[in-house]
């Protein structure tokens, strides 16, 4: 577990290095999802960086596509491409646009038009079932993204077809672009909503690696229904410039901020 905590710190650092290289980005959501990515890429997912399209690999759809830098950091750390490439975010001709793109080795789908990743993920899960492929599909949603009607279409579909090979996560960081989710578009109780659609639902502390892993292992055991894990997270987690502050969806982030972050997450001397 100690090494997994180190991996989470490295994802935080390198995803923010990625953002620092172009001076601003989706800081809040990148930092809130880093711990889930650490568990998935550090412990759970069956992947092969030398063969990104390996047929047996577990699939991942980052439906909240604006959090590309977090995914890029995890992939670079797992060897899908050189760490140095993280500093090419949004540069001319880059393989790393700020929203997830299949240009990047290890990214299964281009996303960013919110809600669409959910349908892609349930489609993949259905396809895997049809192929008798035991690989799993992981889907990462934002809580604001759950405003989209397509989320609920795909939720209905996944339950109807009993897609128990999909595990979805909602990064419930309680903010969207214009402000707090409860002010912009309140969604009442997301767990109850998904439960009523016929999903297996679990809510966990979204920055506790042990709890996240336990919830995923539980979800894998669960048969007959799709699974949803609501991650109770803090937008901007790990950087004092954002954590616990209002309106941290998209912020400037400099090389100087990166040095501060490095200190704050305790990477110095590690």
């Amino acid at each position: 577990m100690k090494s997994l905590y180190k991996f989470a710190k490295l994802i935080r650092y390198h995803s923010m290095e990625c953002i620092a290289s172009c001076g601003s980005g989706h800081v809040g959501g990148v930092l809130s999802i880093a711990d889930l990515l650490a568990v998935l890429y550090g412990k759970i997912m069956n992947i092969d960086s030398s063969n990104p399209l390996w047929e047996e690999r577990d699939r991942l759809v980052m439906s909240k596509g604006h959090c590309g830098p977090a995914l890029y950091a995890a992939l670079a750390l797992k060897g899908f491409f050189p760490i140095e490439e993280l500093r090419t975010l949004n540069q001319n001709g880059t393989r790393l646009p700020s929203h997830c793109n299949t240009l990047t080795p290890g990214v299964d789908f281009s996303t960013g038009s919110l809600g669409q990743g959910a349908s892609l993920a349930v489609g993949v899960a259905l396809a895997l079932k049809k192929k008798n492929n035991p690989a799993r599909t992981f889907l990462i949603l934002g809580d604001g993204e759950c405003n989209e009607g397509q989320i609920w279409e795909s939720a209905m579909f996944a339950a109807h077809y009993g897609l128990d090979n999909i595990i979805a996560f909602v990064d419930q960081n309680k903010q969207q672009l214009d402000g707090d989710t409860r002010d912009v578009m309140s969604m009442e109780n997301l767990e109850e909503s998904f439960l009523s659609f016929g999903w297996f639902v679990k809510k966990v502390a979204g920055h506790n690696l042990e709890k996240i892993e336990e919830a995923i292992l539980n979800a894998i055991e669960n048969k007959g229904k799709p699974s949803l894990i609501v991650l109770d997270t803090i937008k901007g987690k790990g950087w004092t410039g954002a954590e616990g502050k209002p309106k941290v969806h998209h912020l400037p982030f400099t090389e100087k901020d990166l040095e501060i972050l490095k200190n704050e997450i305790g990477l110095l001397g590690d």
Binding site: S119, V122, V124, L126
Partner: protein, 317 residues
């Protein structure tokens, strides 16, 4: 004699039967949005229940599911009415399918005025305009069941996205089983020197045939083209016709603003081919209920109006 005659099955049945056949050896899937009884895909569902996915009334989700299935190696055919295939699920078509290079095959039924019995909310006059503005989508307008039977195997093997306009309930056929079809190549039904009539869809081609017969009786020499591939356009054939004939006239079951005629006009001008051009189809307007004959005449792509306007123009030359 160029003419339509009653065939054995309607277009939707021809499509379903062909897909049933292809799915025996290829990873062909069919997805519908609670319209399988309308699209004929219920025939496919009966034969290949494991390869049919009813998505319920969820066009957006259906396009995403299909795009993902294509990415996983399947060949998904998705059906909905043209109005929904072009307008309702447009961003899903763009992002989930086109941007992700997922070769879905869209069955877009009853385009243009063909769904008018359901009312103005169900018609799509602008679908060619919308879809042709997107990169990497092939647009076909099926003319008859024979064309469907013969093109479907090719469409399955072609790793491109297809938008397939189809009139569900017509059994009429113009081609024989030995006819060859090639995507991107128009079919020359007759070759004349005065007027080239270029048509897409059975509905428009029927008016084209009528107009040709009337004009020939009046002593004119007519080329008649079935331009069943709207995109990519058979530019070579269009330019050949423009050089050969005094007038190029397009008859189409879609908007004259942004349909086949607009694409042809652009092609002609950009190739410095300053031909007399006439476009017959649907004006920029909203849909309404009405019989096909009533609407064709109202919008002015009936044979009589086509002949009248062509003669007027010929007299000016």
């Amino acid at each position: 004699m160029i003419m339509f005659r009653e065939g054995e099955v309607d277009q939707r049945t021809a499509l379903a039967n062909q897909l049933v056949e292809e799915a025996k050896t290829k990873p062909v899937y069919a997805l519908d949005s609670d319209l399988a009884s309308s699209s004929g895909l219920n025939i496919f569902a009966k034969e290949h229940p494991e390869k049919f996915i009813n998505c319920g009334i969820q066009e957006a989700n259906m396009f995403g599911v299909a795009a993902a299935m294509a990415k996983e190696g399947f060949i998904p055919f998705v059906h909905t009415f043209s109005s929904f295939a072009s307008r309702r699920a447009l961003d899903q078509l763009y992002v989930s399918a086109i941007y992700n290079e997922s070769a879905i095959k869209i069955i877009s039924t009853d385009p243009g005025i063909l769904n008018s019995a359901n009312g103005g909310t169900h018609v799509s006059f602008e679908d060619i305009g919308i879809i042709s503005s997107l990169p990497n989508v092939v647009i076909i307008d099926f003319t008859d069941p024979i064309m469907i039977n013969k093109l479907i195997p090719h469409i399955i093997d072609d790793p491109r996205i297809y938008y397939l306009r189809m009139q569900r309930k017509t059994k009429e056929q113009i081609y024989e089983r030995n006819q060859d079809f090639e995507v991107g190549k128009g079919i020359v039904l007759s070759l004349g020197n005065d007027v080239a009539l270029i048509c897409n869809s059975q509905l428009a081609l029927k008016e084209g045939i009528k107009a040709k017969n009337i004009l020939e009786k009046k002593g004119y020499s007519i080329s008649l083209i079935d331009m069943f591939t709207v995109k990519p356009l058979d530019e070579e054939l269009v330019l050949k016709m423009a050089r050969r004939c005094k007038i190029v006239a397009i008859i189409e079951n879609s908007s004259v603003r942004n349909g086949l005629g607009a694409i042809i006009a652009d092609t002609l001008l950009m190739n410095r081919q300053y031909t007399e051009l006439l476009k017959f189809g649907i004006p920029e307007t909203l849909g309404e209920v009405g019989s096909y004959d009533y609407l064709i005449e109202k919008y002015g792509f009936d044979a009589n109006n086509v002949v009248r306007v062509i003669e007027e123009r010929l007299n000016l030359l």
